[in-house]
């Protein structure tokens, strides 16, 4: 064998970093585990074990090296980073990247911010809200109210989340605001169907990714991460429901 492998500690570091970025970007559990074992195998550790949950990753190489643990505290959805790490893992497997370059590239990906500018996200959320209103058989007169309610709801979600780091609270406030705005539109005669406006504008907050990932993880046998993702999705749905419900009680 003429090929030289990087030291085991470095391989572990690469695997954990790749896993961390993917998990924070919202990748499925099996994909994270698969990527980590694949990178390890192509860097000279054929038998490695990884245990991935939404809040932490444990990675062990089948040898004398100690198992390492990494804690995941913040999760969001960033599919671009998932794609980039996937590309890095492909290039490691094909031998294009060696250990040192891969580590540098992963660190670069981790620290960079590839998200769309905030105004574009808000615009996307409000347009999506309007479109959802039409898809749920609303009338065109409610299109503009739904756009405004959905956009403002998303704005408040982003900014409240920056101030208070509790996801439940920011979702609650956002849906409360959506409910109030929709109510005022209908009250002032600018909107017609309160239900349709609220459903349309709440859609950008709905945990669709979490629900499907949760069921998929459960079916793939990742019971712990499936259940905890399900709990997270339920909590989000409950926050949205509670915010809207508060408007109705008045």
């Amino acid at each position: 064998m003429g090929k030289e492998y990087p030291p085991t500690i470095e391989v572990i570091e690469i695997c954990l970093l790749a896993g961390k970025i993917m998990l924070q970007g919202g990748a499925e559990t099996y994909r994270v585990e698969d990527t980590m074992t694949r990178i390890a195998a192509s860097l000279g550790i054929p038998h490695s074990h990884s245990y991935v949950t939404p809040t932490g990753i444990i990675f062990s190489t089948d040898g004398t090296e100690p198992a390492k643990l990494i804690r995941i505290s913040e999760r969001s959805t960033d599919l671009y980073k998932v794609t980039l790490v996937n590309g890095v893992s492909r290039r490691i497997s094909s031998g294009e990247l060696d250990g040192k370059d891969a580590l540098a590239r992963l660190k670069e990906i981790e620290s960079a911010d590839y998200t769309f500018p905030v105004y574009q996200q808000i615009l996307a959320a409000s347009i999506a809200s309007g479109c959802f209103l039409i898809m749920f058989l609303g009338s065109w007169t409610d299109f503009i109210p739904a756009m405004i309610a959905g956009g403002l709801g998303f704005v408040s979600f982003i900014y409240v989340h920056r101030v208070v780091q509790i996801k439940f609270f920011s979702e609650f406030i956002a849906s409360l605001l959506i409910g109030i705005i929709a109510y005022f539109f209908v009250y002032s005669g600018l909107g017609t169907e309160l239900d349709k406006i609220i459903i349309g504008s709440v859609m950008p907050l709905v945990p669709g990714l979490l629900i499907t990932n949760a069921v998929r993880d459960l079916m793939a046998g990742h019971l712990v991460s499936g259940l905890s993702k399900g709990a997270e999705a339920f909590l989000t749905a409950f926050a949205i429901g509670a915010g809207i419900a508060l408007v109705f009680t008045f």
Binding site: A27, N86, A125, C131, I134, M135, V202, V206, V215, G241
Partner: protein, 147 residues
Amino acid sequence: MFMLTHMITSFIASAGFGVLFNAPKKSLLKCGFVGMVGWFVYIWLVNWQYDAVISSLIAAFTIAVISQIFAKMYKTPIIIFSVAGIIPLVPGGIAYDAMRNFVENDYNMAIQLAAKAFMISGAIAVGLVISEVINQMIRKVQFKSRI
């Protein structure tokens, strides 16, 4: 006309969700396309008086198949396309109705609607998983025939 409006709005909504999930810029149009096809299948089946659960299952299966083809063509993780595609199918409206009935103390209606929302989200996930299983089976058969 009805179908055309639905196709356009579902395309824009799915692409918009691609932006929210920070999908790569190049794949935004494909996300929109996947979402449009899924919603088209769903609406078409619902118009033919099929049950919402069955329609969601078939639509999710269609989305997963297209996403797999795209994922293979562009060498990206399948999740980018499938997530944006299934968003229109997520039973947000029914879940909302359920919540509203809970608040209005109509628990019978609320439980019915909640069960329905649960069934639909289960159907979406099953649709995605079935296509994944079929894909793996095809891959295994190809692998064996090569040996």
